[in-house]
Symmetry: C6
Subunit: 77 residues, 6 copies
């Protein structure tokens, strides 16, 4: 992260679905924080997008982040 | 997600069982967000539906999402 | 789930142990939601019931669901 | 579970350490709910007690159950 | 655990870092509850301390325990 | 940890993104608490930074720590 870009302004979203999309983004940023090289990430993509273990693991991370975002929005009640 | 479809309107459900079904849906949407190609997903299905590790991992993701949905509904008290 | 059966009426239970049993049921229903064929599930059973990784993973899912059920019952205080 | 034995009376404990022991018990009961045959469990024991992945996974399940027990005791404040 | 030693007096700590250290201790005690033989544990150590999967799994368990300790300290606010 | 360095002063951060960065730091400190030798860690890095399972597992740990940090900051509401 040389030039710091602001990618996370707020955990609040207008709708639950936008909250889910933010959870996906948070999950991706976790991966990018360790492997920032987008070329490497693109090469790795088929490895887990065509593999049920990889897909389930990714869905798990999104679920954990969605817990955080949902709590931050008081579950959009 | 070319044409944005609204698939998540609310985390509130009338009954706990509908909440559980929403948790299943959230888990599936996590997978679809990474692998949107339904043909690929159908091909992968037998791989984890006939494998205890895959089934237990999937049940785990549903459990995490069910935590979120249950809290959003104040546990249907 | 052709004919919808109501298997989850409430997260409230009288005792903590009944809550634990509900957590087991929730974990099983997660598996059944993906693999509804009981014959397949019976065939897979020995695979994880005789394998420590499978048993620990299953205990993990129960633990997550037990968190939900415990919170729903205000920890039976 | 033929003759029902009451093994979980309460999530409340006097001390945090007793709470931790209860978390261990909850983790074991998850395993026993799937594999109730103690002979099988004894045979499987060396498999994970001498293997770092198995030990870490087991510690993880205890940690999840300890979250539940700690919340149930208001963190023994 | 023949002679019971009190190793967990309280979940409250003065600083967040001490809380993190307590989370590490809780994670280790989970492992020790299953494999109390320190000689075995020492022999197993290189296996996971030199292996990224083992290290990440261990960091995960610490993170779960740190959630508990942080909540117990009202996040040291 | 011979000479104790204070690396965790507070769970409170000004912005959500700083909170995410703290979650990354907490995840790394978990790894360092087990393997403090930075030379070993550098050698291991390519192993998981070029491997989808390792990257997803790491993102998972960050997600768990981000839950803690987010709660500590009342979700920066």
């Amino acid at each position: 992260m040389e030039q710091k870009e602001i990618w996370l302004h707020s955990l609040q979203t207008v709708t639950p679905q936008e909250g889910y999309e933010l959870a996906i983004k948070l999950s991706r940023m976790g991966v990018k924080s360790i492997q920032p090289d987008m070329e490497v990430l693109k090469k790795l993509r088929p490895e887990y997008a065509n593999n049920t273990t990889g897909l389930t693991m990714a869905s798990h991370v999104i679920a954990v982040n969605f817990q955080t975002v949902s709590a931050a929005n008081n579950y959009w009640k």
